[in-house]
């Protein structure tokens, strides 16, 4: 009797199993070959002095060397400085812009979304070409013309340690908020209007509504953008590579660029692998901390 009253449980049929494996086969092979194997391989390489013909096992030397390498710490510091200067500012700017876009009609909203998203669509190399020209050290560089118009003097923006990092940061401020604006706007449009109604009955001002309704409601989006933003920022390579090459005097050498140089300029694969795994651990720890502190009351 019991077997009749029990709801019929869908069991895996043999046929379904087979098709299941068949459908993931290519994805699985690709994953095993191009992600899983390289990760394991990275760990092995990091314990070796890598040579194309027969590597030698050297234990944790690559890690020890890295931790004693002042350039590694400088690169790490540069990365942290870059992250701290760009990620929070970009998040703040995106949130403000999204809130400003909100009162307009759908068409105007799409118009602004399109404009702000445009730099994301352009290739990083193309943009770097333009920005190199904006930061041109000669009098006719665009930024220098602007500075002169305000009574300042021309700078060798990318060529001096003091301004090179700022130049990369400025570039980020003006070109990397397209994605977050759209995510914030989607979050804003999803806020239930009853919240505002209740607040208005209580006589809340615009700023109070912002602080007590909008900011908390956007918290999941903020956390998502914060975590992905910091992770992305820690892996920054392209801009530093194309704009400054890490110079002057390693003032803009980020961890990503350092790893690239170790691997593909000096062909010190073991060192590069060790550093990349240290980077992975740092990123994992940062993500965990962020989830712990910011994500306490966020639901998914």
């Amino acid at each position: 009797m019991a077997s009749i009253t029990k709801p019929i449980k869908r069991r895996r049929s043999k046929e379904e199993q087979t098709w299941g494996y068949a459908f993931i086969a290519v994805a699985l092979v690709a994953f095993a070959m191009f992600t899983a194997y390289p990760v394991v391989s990275a760990f092995i390489i990091s314990l070796q002095e890598y040579k194309p013909l027969g590597s030698t096992y050297i234990g944790a030397d690559n890690y020890v060397d890295t931790l004693h390498d002042s350039l590694f710490w400088k690169a790490l510091r540069n990365t942290v400085v870059y992250t701290v200067l760009t990620v929070p500012v970009n998040l703040f700017l995106s949130m403000v812009i999204a809130i400003l876009i909100l009162p307009f009609r759908k068409k105007t909203q799409s118009f602004f979304k399109g404009i702000y998203y445009l730099p994301v669509v352009a290739s990083g190399v193309a943009l770097s070409v333009v920005w190199l020209w904006i930061f041109d050290p000669m009098e006719h560089g665009i930024l220098n013309q602007v500075v002169q118009a305000f009574g300042g003097s021309s700078q060798n923006w990318l060529g001096r340690s003091a301004t090179a990092m700022f130049s990369l940061v400025l570039m980020s401020w003006l070109s990397s908020h397209g994605t977050s604006i759209i995510i914030y706007l989607a979050g804003l449009l999803g806020i239930d209007s009853t919240y505002y109604e209740a607040a208005e009955i209580d006589g809340a001002s615009f700023l109070q509504k912002l602080w007590h309704i909008v900011v908390p409601c956007l918290k999941p989006a903020t956390l998502f953008l914060l975590v992905t933003g910091v992770i992305g920022s820690f892996q920054v390579f392209q801009n530093a590579y194309l704009m400054t090459g890490g110079g002057p005097d390693n003032a803009t050498t980020m961890v990503g660029l350092l790893i690239f140089n170790n691997a593909f300029t000096y062909f010190n694969f073991g060192r590069a692998a060790a550093q990349s795994l240290i980077l992975a651990v740092i990123i994992a720890v940062i993500a965990l901390i962020q989830f712990k502190f910011v994500g306490k009351d966020v639901e998914y």
Partner: protein, 286 residues
Amino acid sequence: MALYSNHTGKPHKRHIRNTIIFIVLMLFALATIFPIYFMFITSLGDPVEAGAVDYSIWPKQFSLESYKFFFDYSKYSYRWILNSLIVATAVTVSNVIFASMAGFAFSKLRFKGRGILFGILLVSMMIPYQVTQVPLYILIVNTFELQNTYSALIMPSIVTVYNIFLAKQFMSGIPTEILECAKIEGCSQPQIYMKIILPLSKTVLAVMAILTFMDSWNTFFWPLLVTNSMEMQTIQVGLKNFRFANTTYISPMMAGAAISALPMFILFFSLQKYFLEGVTVGAVKG
């Protein structure tokens, strides 16, 4: 009732407020797209050396000489664009096919280890690409000896975890009842996938295709690593050569940059909806 007061009864007040906001947004938007605007304006100038260039914010002339200069500069200029097209198209097609298949299996089929396998895929998205780049380079270039081949450019991104995740999320929303019905009617799993899942997933597949194409077109790092002959480079890598070789020729440089960005701009303006939709998939619920 919303964040912004409607100023009921005082439409002019609302009007003034919106105008001010519009101006602020416009100013910031102009700063954002200025580099792109400048790129196009300058690319229309004459291909003269830097000192002789007439820098203006407004186009004084329209000449395509700099574009001609760019294509004449290297006999591989066309080839770079063709390479980018071949690679981006191949990567896009294979991702749409294989990610949708895997997404279907992970969302609708029951098989042993499904949960664990998907979990591993998800966790792997957290691994920085720097970790895999060295072993991947060794594998492709030293072991398989595929340097300067399309295989080397295409293979590592044949199907990405992100796209599998995207497909799975979307397909989980398709009611299982439909699939059960089809099964009772005698559909096999491949038929269910072809006749029900794929047609119902058109939107997410379009989003996936566009984002994948954009990523692949704009990618710089991997092609830089695995190509060292001019004829196998993609436009992004080619552009870099060009930049260092010809820094004094601003207009042709900008023409090259414009050429590398143009296909994406055209795609963006014609398919804006899918681009912008793609951003929010997986990021925000509802």
